[in-house]
C-alpha cells in the first residue's frame, strides 16, 4: 500500500489529488443522489400559484416518495432557520442582560402559543408577500414548522452559553479571541451536544404539526401543499384505510432515513464536543460518517472545506476590542439608563396588552372569555390526567427496562423512534373505536394528547435508573430492602429528577397537541370534545381572528401558570433534594 496517506497532523499540506478509492465511488453516488433530489424538490417549491387555485393530492402510494421529499425539504429549511435564529438570539440573550430580560420571557410565552396560532396569523401575510407564487404558502408552512422547532433549541443554546466555564471565557479573553472567533471556537462547540439533542426533539415534535402546516385550512384558506401532511389530511377526509397504512409505512422509512443520514453522523461527530470522556459503549456510531472517513478524494474536499471554514472563523470583523469598563459611565448614568430601559420595556408591554385586549373584546364578550377559561380548565384536567396515567404506566416499565443492561440498550432507540412518529396517524384508529363502542368523546380523546410525547417519560426513566450508582443498588440489596419499600425509598426518589424532566416535556407537548387531539375526524365523522384545543381549532378554521387570539392567550396563560406553579417548584425540589451528588 504505497499510496497510503500518513494520518498525521501535517496532512493539511496536501498538494495533489489522491486517487479515489471504492468508498469514494459510493460517497459520490450518495452525494449526487442527495443533490438531485434536493434540487428537484426545490424547483417545485417555486412554481406558480394563485389564491384559490385547487391543488390536488393523489392518494396513490406511488406519489408518497415525492410527497415525503417535499415535506422533508420543508422541515430541513425550517430546521436551518431555527438554527440561525437560535444562534443569533441565543447568544444575544446570553451576553446582554437587557436582551436577556426581553428574549427569555418572550420565548417562554411564544413556546406556549400553539403552532396553529402562528399559522393563522401569518398565512395571509405570506401569500400576499409572494403573490402568484408557490413560495407564499410554502413559506407559511415552513414558518409554522419553524415555530414548532425553534423554542427549545434556543433555550438549550442560551443555557449552554450561559454555563460556559468561567476560565474558558477568561482564556479566550487572554488570548484575544474576537467575539466571532469566540462564538465558533467556544460557544457553538460547547453548546453542540445539547443543541443537537434538542434539534432531534424538535424534528420529532414538528412531524405532528406537518398535517396542519401543509394542509392549511385556517383563515378561510384551503391550501393543500404537496407533502406527507396533506396526504394524511386527504386520506382522513376520504376515510381511506389503505392510504393510511401506506403513509404509516412511508413515515417509518422517512424517519429511519433522515435519522441515519442526518442525525446519526451529527451525533457521532458531536461526541468530541462532550467535555467528559465518553466510554466506547455509549459512543455514537454512524455508518455514513465512517464511509466518508474512508474516502480519499472526499477527504481532500473535506480538508479544503475545513480550511475555508477556519478562514471564515478567522475573518477580522467584530474584532473591535471590547474594553472592560474602566468607569466610562458613572454609576448614576448607569442607573438612569437602566431605569429608562425598564420604562420603555414596561410601556411596550402595556401597549401590546391594551391593543390585544381591545382587539379581542371588540367582538367577544367578557362572559365568553369566562367560558373560554372554563374550556381551558377542561383541557388542563385532561393534560394533567394523561400525564399521571402515563407516569403510572411507564415508570414501572422504565424501571424494569433500566435494570436490565441489555434491555436498556435496546429500548431507548425504539422509544426515540416512536417519539418521532407522528401520533396523529393513529387518531383515526381512535375515532373508529369511539364510534364503534359509543365511547365518551370528552374522555377518550385524552389519550391522543400524550401518544407522541409519552416516550419522553419512558426514556427519561430508563436513563434515571441507569444513572443510579451501582453501589447504591448493592447497599440497598444487602439491607434486604424489597417490594414496596424498595420503590418508595430507593427507586422513586432516585429517578425523580429524570421523571420530572420527562413529565415536563410530555406536558408541554400535550398542550400543543390538544388543538388537534380534541377534534378527531374520519371521513365525514367529526368527533369534537369540548375543550380549549377544539375551541382554538374551530375558531382558526372559520378565520375568527379575535376569538382565535382569545383562545391562544388563554392557552398561553394556562401553560405559563402550569409552568410557574407546578413544574418549576417540582423541578427545583428535584434539583435540591433528589439530585445525586
Amino acid at each position: 500500500m504505497a499510496l497510503q496517506l500518513k494520518n498525521t497532523y501535517s496532512k493539511n499540506e496536501v498538494t495533489s489529488w489522491p486517487i479515489p478509492n471504492a468508498w469514494d465511488a459510493l460517497a459520490l453516488l450518495f452525494v449526487i443522489t442527495v443533490l438531485v433530489l434536493l434540487s428537484y424538490g426545490a424547483t417545485a417549491m417555486m412554481g406558480h400559484y394563485d389564491v384559490g387555485e385547487k391543488l390536488t393530492i393523489s392518494l396513490s402510494p406511488k406519489m408518497l416518495p415525492y410527497y415525503a421529499l417535499r415535506s422533508v425539504i420543508r422541515m430541513f429549511i425550517a430546521l436551518a432557520c431555527s438554527t440561525l435564529v437560535t444562534f443569533v438570539f441565543g447568544v444575544w440573550a446570553a451576553k446582554s442582560r437587557s436582551a436577556e430580560l426581553i428574549i427569555i420571557p418572550l420565548v417562554d410565552i411564544l413556546q406556549s402559543v400553539p403552532v396553529l396560532g402562528f399559522l393563522s396569523i401569518t398565512v395571509v401575510g405570506f401569500i400576499v408577500l409572494f403573490h402568484g407564487s408557490m413560495l407564499g404558502p410554502e413559506c407559511a408552512a415552513i414558518f409554522a414548522i419553524f415555530t414548532a422547532q425553534v423554542w427549545n433549541m434556543l433555550l438549550s443554546f442560551y443555557q449552554s452559553v450561559k454555563n460556559i466555564p468561567h476560565d474558558l471565557r477568561e482564556a479566550s479573553a487572554m488570548f484575544h479571541l474576537s467575539s466571532w472567533q469566540c462564538f465558533w471556537k467556544i460557544e457553538v462547540p460547547y453548546a453542540m451536544p445539547g443543541l443537537l439533542w434538542n434539534a432531534m426533539m424538535s424534528m420529532s415534535g414538528s412531524w405532528v404539526f406537518l398535517v396542519y402546516s401543509e394542509a392549511i385550512s385556517v383563515a378561510n384558506q384551503n391550501i393543500l401543499l404537496p407533502g406527507i401532511g396533506s396526504y394524511i389530511s386527504v386520506a382522513i377526509q376520504h376515510a381511506d384505510r389503505g392510504a393510511i397504512v401506506a403513509v404509516i409505512i412511508a413515515m417509518f422509512i422517512v424517519i429511519a432515513l433522515y435519522d441515519q443520514i442526518f442525525f446519526r453522523p451529527l451525533l457521532a461527530w458531536s461526541d468530541k464536543f462532550k467535555a467528559e470522556s465518553v466510554d466506547s459503549e455509549s459512543m455514537n456510531d454512524s455508518w455514513l460518517l465512517n464511509l466518508f472517513q474512508r474516502t480519499r478524494w472526499f477527504a481532500v474536499i473535506g480538508i479544503f472545506m475545513k480550511k475555508v471554514g477556519s478562514m471564515v472563523v478567522a475573518i477580522k470583523w467584530r474584532r473591535i476590542k471590547v474594553m472592560p469598563t474602566i468607569r466610562p459611565v458613572t454609576k448614576n448614568t448607569k442607573r438612569y439608563l437602566s431605569l429608562l430601559f425598564w420604562i420603555i420595556l414596561l410601556s411596550v408591554v402595556a401597549f401590546i396588552l391594551i391593543v390585544l385586549w381591545r382587539f379581542i373584546f371588540q367582538v367577544a364578550s367578557y362572559h365568553e372569555a369566562l367560558h373560554v377559561i372554563y374550556l381551558g380548565v377542561l383541557t388542563a384536567i385532561r393534560v394533567f390526567c394523561v400525564i399521571i396515567i402515563s407516569c403510572i404506566i411507564w415508570v414501572p416499565i422504565g424501571v424494569l427496562v433500566g435494570l436490565h443492561p441489555k434491555a436498556s440498550r435496546i429500548v431507548p432507540p425504539i422509544a426515540q423512534f416512536l417519539a418521532a412518529f407522528p401520533a396523529n396517524l393513529l387518531f383515526p384508529v381512535m375515532a373508529l373505536l369511539i364510534i364503534r363502542y359509543h365511547l365518551n368523546v370528552n374522555i377518550w380523546v385524552a389519550p391522543l394528547m400524550i401518544l407522541g410525547t409519552q416516550w419522553y417519560i419512558l426514556f427519561n426513566v430508563i436513563a434515571g435508573v441507569a444513572a443510579l450508582p451501582k453501589n447504591l443498588h448493592h447497599a440497598v440489596g444487602t439491607l434486604n430492602v424489597k417490594g414496596f419499600l424498595w420503590w418508595r425509598k430507593f427507586v422513586l426518589p432516585g429517578i425523580f429528577p429524570y421523571l420530572i424532566t420527562g413529565a415536563i416535556t410530555a406536558a408541554g407537548g400535550a398542550w400543543n397537541i390538544s388543538i388537534i387531539a380534541e377534534v378527531v375526524s374520519w371521513g365525514h365523522v367529526h368527533l369534537i370534545a369540548s375543550g380549549l384545543g377544539s375551541y382554538i381549532a374551530e375558531m382558526t378554521s372559520i378565520g375568527d381572528f379575535q376569538r382565535t387570539a382569545l383562545g391562544i392567550v388563554v392557552m398561553s396563560l394556562f401553560v405559563l401558570l402550569f409552568n410557574y406553579l407546578l413544574w418549576r417548584p417540582l423541578y427545583q425540589l428535584a434539583e435540591k433534594r433528589f439530585q445525586m451528588n
Binding site: 498525521t8 497532523y9 501535517s10 493539511n12 466555564p165 476560565d167 474558558l168 477568561e170 482564556a171 479573553a173 487572554m174 488570548f175 484575544h176 479571541l177 474576537s178 472567533q181 471556537k185 467556544i186 462547540p189 468530541k272 464536543f273 462532550k274 467535555a275 467528559e276 470522556s277 477556519s310 478567522a314 477580522k316 476590542k321 471590547v322 474594553m323 472592560p324 469598563t325 474602566i326 468607569r327 433534594r577
Partner: protein
Amino acid sequence: MRVDNKNIIQIDNIKKSFQKHRVQELLVLDEVNFDMREGEIIALLGKSGSGKSTLLRIIAGLIAATDGQVLYHGSPIMSPVSGLTMVFQHFALLPWLTVLQNVELGLEAQGVKNKERRKRALEAIDVVGLDGFESAYPKELSGGMSQRVGLARALVVDPEVLLMDEPFSALDVLTAEKLRSDLIDLWQSKKTNIKSILIVTHNIEEAVFLADRILVFDSDPGKVRDEVIVKVEHPRNDSDPEFRSLMDHIYTLMTKEKLDSISQKDHDKSITLGHRLPDVEISEITGFLEIMNSSEYEQKVDLPELADELHLELDNLFAITEALEIMRFATVSRGDISLTDLGMSMAEADIQLQKSIFAKSLLSNVPLAKHIHQQLHITDNQRLSEDVILKYLEKDLSSQASEEVLKVVIEWGRYAEIFAYDSNSGYLSLENPE
C-alpha cells in the same frame, strides 16, 4: 541580584470592592502596591479568599479595579494586552480541540498565517516536552500533561510576562514538583522571551521553591503584608537548612498575621455575635485534639511542624486552630499550640461526654449559638427560620460569609444537640427528629 533591573509592571494603589445588596460593599483588595521587575519570579502567597486571584485578574486586564491602576511599560492596562499571558488553575483547555489546536489558538486569534502558526506551536509543544501528543484531546491527558499544554499555549504567543494562577494546585504532589522544576529549568534556559513571572499560590513551599521575591498577602481586605527576598540559588532543595528556615520564617509571618488580629483581644478571646466562625468540621476539631493529646506530642507543638506532619493546608490549619481557641480547647502563641485542660478532657472523653463538653463550651463561648438557643426557647412553636438568622448576620457580614457562618453554627449546634435543623423547610427547632 537582579534588583536594579527596570520595572515592567507597576501595581499602583489597587483597590477592589464588590457590591452587595446595592448598599453594602465588600472590600477585597485595599491599597495594593508593588512592582514587577525584569528577571524575577514573584510569588503572591496568601490564604484562599484573600483576593490574590482577583488581583491577578486585574493585572491581566480581565476585570477592572475599583480604584488605582496597573501600568505595563508605563501605560495603564484596561483589557488583556499582548505581552501578558496567563496559565490557569484548572487548565482552561478547549476539550474539543487537540493539543496542537489548543496551542495554536492564541496565534489564530492574532491572525498568524497557517504555516508559521504550526511551526511556532510545534516548537512550544517541544519546549514543554509534549511532542508526540500533538493530536491528543485534553480528555486523554493527565492533569500534569494538561497543564503542560496550558503552559505551551501561553508560551507560544511569546509573552513578556507570565501570570500563573495557582497553576500546580490541581495536580498531585509528585506531578506538581516535577512541573515546578521544569518551569525553573525553562526559566533558566532562556529559551523564551519571558522577562518576569507572577505566580499566585497558597503553598509556602512552592513559593520558596520558585520565587525570587515572595509577597505575603493579608486577607479581609487583601493587601501585601510582608515581602520576603529569596536568595537561594536554583535548583533549590527543600531539605536545605536555608530553605527550611525561610519556610519557618514565612510560617511565623503568616501566623503572626493571625496572632495580631487576635492579640488585640488577647486576654479576652471572646468573640462577638457576628464573628466569622471558621469553617471547620466537628471531626477536624475532635481529630486534631486527639492527635495533639497522643503521646507523640509534647504539651506545646510547633505549628509548621504539625501542619507538615498532618499534611494540612495552611488555610485549614489556621481555621482549626481558631476554632480550638474560640472553644477554649487550645491556646496559640508564637507559632506554638498547646491544649487547655478543657481540651484535654475533651480529647479523652467518649462520644456522649464529648458532645456535652462541646455543647457547654459552645453555649458559653459562641454568642451566635447561645442567641439561637435562647430565641428557640422563647418562641411559641420553638422554631426559627434560617432567613431570620441570615438577615441578622448580614448586618455585620457579606451575604456569602453569613451563609458560611450559618452553615458552621448549624453543624456545631447539631453535633452539640442544642438544636435541630430541617434543610427542606429551612427551620431550626428544638424538636428531635421524628
